[in-house]
Structure formats: C-alpha cells, structure tokens
Symmetry: C2
Subunit: 203 residues, 2 copies
C-alpha cells in the first residue's frame, strides 16, 4: 500500500495561510487535518471552504474532533480521547472515515475494535510541540503495529531523513506539522517527504 503523508494544521497559522500552503502541497499529500482546537465550528466550516477553494479534494480533508463539521462537509474526522467515542461516531455518522489518536497498544486495539479506520501514534521523535515530554521512539511504534491491523500513521518530529527508520518500524504513513508548514518551500518539503515515503516500494 502506498505510504501516506498527512499534513496537520498547527493552530497558529490563519486558516487562509494554511489553505494556501495546502494548495501548494496538495499533489504530494494525502490528507489535510484541520486541528484547530481554539476555533469555533463556524470557523472550521469556513476553513473547509477555503481548502476546497484551493483545490483540496474533500476526501483529503480531515476535521479534528468536530464530527458535526465533518458530517456537514462530508470530510473525515480525527478523534482524540476527549472526543466522542469512535463507536458512537461509527454508529451515528455512517461511512465517515475515522482516525484516532492513541498513546498505547491497548488504546490502539480499542480504537480498532470500535471501528477506527486508521490510527495516529506519537510523538515518535523529539518535537517542539511536545517540549519536555519524552518521545516514544520507533520501538514503541513497532510494538503498536503488532497490536492492530488498521493503518498506523506516525507523528512527531519526523524529518525526511528519519522516514526510512519510521517505515522500518512499520508505519503506514506519517503526519507532519512544522516540517512542512514552517519549511521555506512547503511544496518542496512535502515532495521530499512523499519521495522518502514511497521510494523503496511496498515495505
């Protein structure tokens, strides 16, 4: 299976700025997450429109936590511990693609059992957005992969040169925030990630 590249908004850029970068990066990325915890549902709804206007296909858009916005816009949703349970979303929002952040093999198993379509696990390496919290490393990623059959995306401090190590540990893709959003040339950065993710064929 092709390894995926998810780009996650950082909650700092304006939605316009994120949408603009997304437009440049689109050919190299598989998903764009609006992870904007401080924003209202109205703002997120408008944010999806901005992404669409930049040419992002709706199936590439993922909304964090707000299942209602995702449902109204027909995007995917990404759930965390404080969100509605995966099982509830699976039951009441038919056919919505569901991702889920987990922090242990047990949580991963539970999310898969409840019907999550993929899992996000991290942070793998040190990253500024999780300063002071020890990274989980690729060893724990490898352990988690053994617990579930659904795809596992790795997140946290992943640089292009680290991609082979992450794939070696079994990741089905990666999620990147600053590595693309803060790059001098986001499209070049995304292209490089994409190349690293798929250059060695089906791992």
């Amino acid at each position: 299976m092709r390894k995926q590249l998810h780009v996650i908004s950082d909650g700092k850029l304006s939605l316009e700025a994120f949408a603009e970068i997304a437009g440049e990066v689109e050919p190299f990325a598989d998903r764009f997450h609006l992870r904007e915890k401080h924003r209202t549902s109205r703002e997120l709804y408008e944010g999806v429109k901005l992404l669409c206007n930049e040419g992002i296909p709706i199936h590439k858009i993922v909304i964090n936590d707000r299942v209602d916005v995702a449902w109204a816009c027909k995007t995917g949703v990404h759930l965390a511990f404080h969100s509605l349970p995966v099982r509830v979303v699976k039951t009441h929002f038919l056919d919505m693609p569901i991702g889920c952040s987990v922090h242990s093999p047990e949580e991963a198993e539970e999310a898969a059992k409840q019907g999550a379509d993929y899992i996000l696990f991290g942070h793998i390496f040190e990253t500024d957005s999780k300063k002071g919290i020890p990274p989980r490393g690729t060893g724990s990623l490898e352990a988690l992969k053994k617990a579930v059959e659904i795809p596992v995306m790795a997140i946290g401090g992943i640089k292009p040169e680290k991609v082979p190590e992450v794939l070696e540990a079994g990741a089905d893709g990666i999620a990147v925030m600053s590595g693309i959003l803060q790059a001098k040339d986001p499209a070049e950065a995304a292209k490089l990630f994409s190349k690293k993710l798929n250059e060695e064929g089906e791992k």
Copy 2:
C-alpha cells in the same frame, strides 16, 4: 400554546449536580439545555447519560453548539453565532429540533428563514451573568416578536414576578439559569415559574 420553561446549565455546576437538580425540576420544565462551553464532547455525551439516568426524557434535552453530540444522543441543539449555521444543521441533521440565540429582529428573521424551530432572545432584564451589559427590555422583545412567527423564548434576569410582563410582550416561554439552579428549593422555584407562565391561560 402552553408557555415553555427552559432550564439552562450555568457551566459552573458539575454535570452530576445539574442532572440532579434537573431530575427534581423535571415535572415543571420543558427543556434542559447543556450550555457548557468549556466541556469536551465526551463530557457532554456523558452528561446526557446523567440527565437520562435522572429521568429526563430525551426530547427535553438540548445541547448547546455541539450538533454532533446532539445527533448521537437524539437531543435538540441550540446554536449561537459561532455555531454551524442553522441552514447547514437543518440540511445535514434531519429532524433535529433547532433553537437559535439572536440579538435583533434581523437575526431572528434570518434564523427563522434558515429553519430554526424557536428563538432565544435576551437578556431582557439585568442579570449577574451579563454584568455591565445593558438589558434589552421587554420593548425589544415585543419588536422581535413582530418579526417572526416561530416561538420566542425570553432569557435574562427573569424572576417569577416578572413573568406576566414578559408574556405581555409576547414571549412563548422563558429560559432560566440561576433563578432555578441557585434557588434554595429548585423544584419549588420551577413550579412557581411554571405556574406564572400558564396561570392566565392561552395568552
């Protein structure tokens, strides 16, 4: 039409405490709003269960802003300016009862046009929860009533003795927060509001 009494959570009580009061007050109230802006969707979802456990029928429960929680629990929803637009909720969440907070006749007309089932308008009188903001008074309520045909609930500093004045201005019901939640005997308070609301027959 019977005049309605809505009880609105204040975001300060624990959900357990609110549910307990709701259970006592239930015979006298028509709607219970979970208006808990600081809470996660997971907490709200659990809050609905607490209300159900206290014997509140699901059709009496209204969730503020979180259309996803309302949809999953089959409750009504109450929208504000920062929420998903009424039209969007009407389109994508079929048959969900929709209330909408408005602050002018124009906003009321727009909400009604988009498909809101009722409107909440205030604050009518001075209230601690809107300290320093001048109340709108019953005159503006009367003006708003002329703009729309859907029911209008009045909110803000309404004491039992003020109910006749509010009904005189055309309110189809009232919403109360501290007047019931902070009453020594919430059930007695709700009973008095309910009596005042309907003692003079169909106004």
